[in-house]
Subunit: 307 residues, 2 copies
């Protein structure tokens, strides 16, 4: 267990108390707990939710949230629950992004997409149930002071809303033709990936009780991490289904940094985001080593860390 | 303005302080405020949200919430905001129910359905944005103590979730063939309509500061009102598009009280629910006259009050 408190400002100890892989296992177990289905839930609905939520995943957002919060013993469950809420929101967005009227994807997280397995109606309803559940979990965090719960809900709602994740998907589906400049691509990547990375990290920082200036550094770190992650994902789109675990070459007709400047330039941009993320991480004062391990591991898929 | 406080238990004054039609106008204006679109929101997305949310509607749920809360001057805006959150959730559910993969409806609230006007992807994203916004509004109610905000969010999340509204729609789309008994129909009507009626009324009761036993009466009242409303809606499905303002005869292959027992028996059931609703309303101690007016007006469409 970490020796620093959820409410302490900074950690003096730079040792990696938490291995991201161990945190990921805790997240997996807690997600499963949350989908223990009560009577009255249609089996198709809970089946679709489990199919989507419990599929293999790196759990980047909840693990990131946890490593930023660095909970003491006794606070672990609460921090995991907030991470599960973020993962539910993320999974809901994936279910919807994959629909025939959006990306029309067949594979996701090494499984058939949810609408392929359960039909479109159940997939959409499963997404809504996950999204709603996320806000219900946050509202019901008994160990967290109510003002903090309200603040967490606000951060999550702002991240998902009409100028956040939802806007990113709308532009991706219906406004992509107008996205042709590097700054526009950065903005779209920010909306599609950055906002929820930042929300996850910020929620961890709030649970930790960080001061506002440190929270700003955490946000800056997560923004660059998210942009690096999205660029790596665009590079991954040029790989194979076996490597990606999902449909590839879906972006063939979309402008990304990869299609605009080629893989070399995209990799360079990705590395710059990683460097900027690390600088902001150090400024935040949180324990950097586990977070750096997480970044290295999740960016491996895009092979950003192999050279 | 009402002479009873938001935190007072009961009203001694049985005069109709608020006319439901006046409250409805306040709701309309406040919904419009909430959709004032900031920069960065794609025009198609906010267009779809406005199309769905600002279409003609009786605003039954937010008006009901308001009449139960019976706010003092200075608390009106807060109560309207909570009502707007409920209406956003309701509208999101209508957008999704109308999709081709669900009811495949062309008309709703006297307009083309949102997916007909804006395409399926934008319609779905608009629904998600409305749903998320609802939780954001509740989290951000500065005038409401944080524990109350958390309680309101919990009530709303429970109403929408996998054993609430979402379950009702899943059964309606994929499990309807097994719904053949009156009790099953009541249960489905409860999930499709009752839960959000009850949540709206309960949120009003919480804002009013009612004691738990009175809240139980408010819930009982709203449950019967919701079931009466759904039965009236099933009767309306046998009328014309011009009367209903939406597609009719969509339930031709579904078992409802109307198809099972005919319109006469359904009307009788509806009237029993109205009587039970009125009894519970009196037991709750809230000002009954405006709520009775609301019930009479919204059930008129199903002609339950004309004989």
């Amino acid at each position: 267990m970490s020796s620093t408190g959820m409410l302490s400002g900074t950690s003096q100890n730079t040792a990696p108390h938490w291995d991201p892989a161990a945190v990921r296992q805790l997240v997996e177990a807690r997600l499963d707990d949350h989908l223990t289905t009560p009577a009255g839930v249609p089996a198709t609905l809970s089946g679709a939710m489990r199919h989507a939520l419990l599929a293999p995943s790196k759990r980047v957002r909840p693990v990131l949230l946890f490593l930023v919060a660095e909970p003491e013993e006794g606070q672990t469950q609460t921090v995991l629950d907030v991470g599960c809420a973020v993962e539910m929101v993320h999974t809901a967005s994936l279910i919807l992004d994959d629909l025939p009227c959006m990306d029309d994807a067949q594979m996701r997280r090494q499984r058939p997409t949810t609408h392929v397995a359960f039909g479109q109606a159940t997939a959409i309803l499963g997404a809504i149930a996950l999204l709603t559940r996320a806000f219900g979990i946050i509202a019901g965090l008994d160990d967290v002071p109510a003002p903090t719960r309200a603040r967490l809900a606000q951060v999550l709602a702002d991240a998902v809303g009409w100028d956040g994740l939802v806007a990113g998907q709308e532009i991706d589906v219906n406004g992509r033709a107008a996205v042709v400049e590097p700054l526009q691509i950065d903005q779209l990547n920010w909306l599609k990936t950055g906002v929820l990375f930042v929300a996850a990290a910020e929620m961890g920082a709030i649970l930790r009780g960080l001061e506002d200036d440190k929270i700003a550094s955490v946000r800056e770190f997560a923004r660059h991490f998210g942009l690096a992650f999205q660029t790596a994902d665009d590079l991954l789109d040029k790989s194979s289904v076996a490597v990606a675990g999902k449909d590839v070459n879906k972006d063939a007709d979309k402008t990304t940094l990869v299609t605009l400047f080629g893989a070399g330039k995209a990799e360079q941009t990705c590395r710059q985001h990683i460097a900027d993320a690390e600088a902001a991480l150090l400024a935040s004062g949180i324990n950097a080593a586990p977070v750096r391990t997480l970044m290295a591991r999740v960016l491996e898929a895009g092979r950003m860390t192999q050279k």
